[in-house]
């Protein structure tokens, strides 16, 4: 912006002009807290000092943001402040910090441990407090960064169980992510979901600080449905993961936690189907065997019947053959009849009576002339 040389501004106008330009100088600055002055309104004034040459800059943070990041500023603390410069009409130049974060592994670790101890004493991490993840879920809320392998890994492990996933894209890196995460979780409070999954990949304690935020932990604990945290980490488990109802190490495990009950159902159905088919097959095989056996019995029975008939015919033929009177006559026997009756004994005839002798080719008529006992 080019300002005409002869232009004269009022103070207010000039300050406005300055702020228009200064607003563009957003930056992250690192320094040691040399003074801190919490105002009565809750907004905090503090001074950051350059470690090397002692340069100082006055800073200001709004109450909301100060509380959001849960860092109690103390003299000597090394922090990174993200924000922009601004000139206030009454208080002059200030660096307006939107985000403050502790830097230095040692300090971070200290802050982490303090908060962890405090929350643990409140029973926030207690096992008894944790809710069971319901089985057979379908409606799941998901908070993670839309870009990145984490989401892809999660989605690719969900399978085809018909999940309805609602995603709220959120920053997950650095302290600034806290704002996104809390906003996302509050949005999900009003939505119809059965579980909430919060995910990010692994990282250093510093990059993970958003997940060690007290407000976020409390949002997770008071969330209306169970929360699953899949937050990678090296050694210090993020407090959000400790507070979540279930903490898993990878997005794929988070996904399989949701799919497992469904998979079991599938398996059960498959097994039942296979058992039923086996049973059906057995029934068919048995029926087939029964049928074959019946058939064999039938053949055997019928063959026996045929043999029996055949034997009966043979026997009958033999009896008939043996009893055939013609055969007797041919053998030389003859049949004697007197008065039409067969002569078996002497009394069956008398002297003078005729006896007809039947022989094989005719009849001989004789007369009784004598009877010898």
């Amino acid at each position: 912006m080019k300002i005409p040389n002869d232009a004269i501004f009022s103070i207010s106008e000039y300050i406005e002009l300055l702020n228009l330009t200064l607003g563009k100088f957003t930056a992250k600055i690192v320094g040691e807290v040399s003074e801190t002055n919490p105002g009565p309104t809750g907004h905090v004034y503090f001074t950051l000092k350059d470690e090397k040459d002692g340069s100082v800059i006055d800073c200001f943070i709004w109450k909301y943001n100060y509380n959001l990041y849960g860092i109690k500023l103390e003299v000597g603390m090394k922090i990174i402040a993200s924000g922009h410069p601004n000139v206030h009409k009454s208080y002059g130049f200030k660096f307006i910090a939107d985000v403050i974060e502790i830097t230095g592994e040692g300090e971070l670790k200290k802050q982490y441990e303090v908060l962890r101890k405090k929350l643990a004493e409140e029973g926030i991490f207690a096992k008894e407090r944790k809710r069971e993840i319901p089985k057979y879920l379908r409606k799941v809320g998901l908070i993670t960064a839309k870009q990145g392998a984490v989401l892809a890994d999660f989605l690719s492990n969900l399978g085809k169980y018909g999940f309805k996933i609602k995603l709220i894209d959120s920053r997950v890196e650095g302290q600034g992510a806290v704002e996104d995460l809390i906003s996302a979780i509050r949005t999900f409070k009003k939505q119809d979901i059965e579980a909430l999954v919060i995910m990010r990949g692994g990282g250093s304690l510093e990059s993970m600080m958003a997940f060690n935020n007290e407000l976020l932990v409390r949002e997770v604990v008071s969330f209306k449905v169970p929360v699953i945290a899949a937050i990678g980490h090296h050694k210090d488990e993020p407090l959000v993961a400790l507070a979540a109802d279930l903490a898993v190490s990878t997005p794929s495990i988070a996904a399989t936690t949701l799919t497992e009950p469904w998979r079991q159902v599938d398996l059960l159905v498959e097994t039942a189907l296979s058992v039923s088919l086996q049973k059906l097959d057995n029934i068919i095989q048995n029926s087939k065997m029964n049928l074959e056996n019946s058939w064999k019995d039938l053949i055997f029975g019928f063959n026996s019947l045929l043999s029996k008939i055949s034997r009966q015919l043979e026997n009958s033929a033999k009896i008939i053959f043996l009893n055939n009177p013609e055969r007797q006559l041919k053998l030389g026997y003859s049949i004697a009849r007197c008065r039409g009756k067969i002569v078996r004994k002497l009394k069956d005839t008398a002297i003078g009576e005729n006896i007809d002798l039947k022989v094989s080719d005719g009849t001989i008529i004789t007369e009784t002339i004598n009877l010898k006992p």
Partner: protein
């Protein structure tokens, strides 16, 4: 049905044959004429029965063969 009738014939033939053989076995006075008649009847019954039996056997073999073929096709 003719088949049923023939089967019935076979069984009535057998019954009649059995009556005749019984008659021969129990007859004390053999009436040659009647005996001859019965022999003739029995002989024809035996012949007819054997033929019928053979036919039944053949028919049975046919059925068996058909059933075997069906089973083989299934397997």
């Amino acid at each position: 049905m003719p088949k049923e009738k023939s089967t019935k014939n076979l069984s009535s033939n057998l019954k009649r044959l059995s009556e005749i053989t019984d008659w021969f076995e129990n007859q004390e006075e053999v009436d040659v004429e009647e005996g001859l008649e019965k022999v003739k009847e029995a002989a024809s019954l035996i012949k007819a029965s054997k033929e019928r039996l053979k036919a039944v056997e053949n028919e049975f073999e046919e059925i068996k063969k058909e059933t075997d073929i069906k089973e083989n096709k299934e397997e």
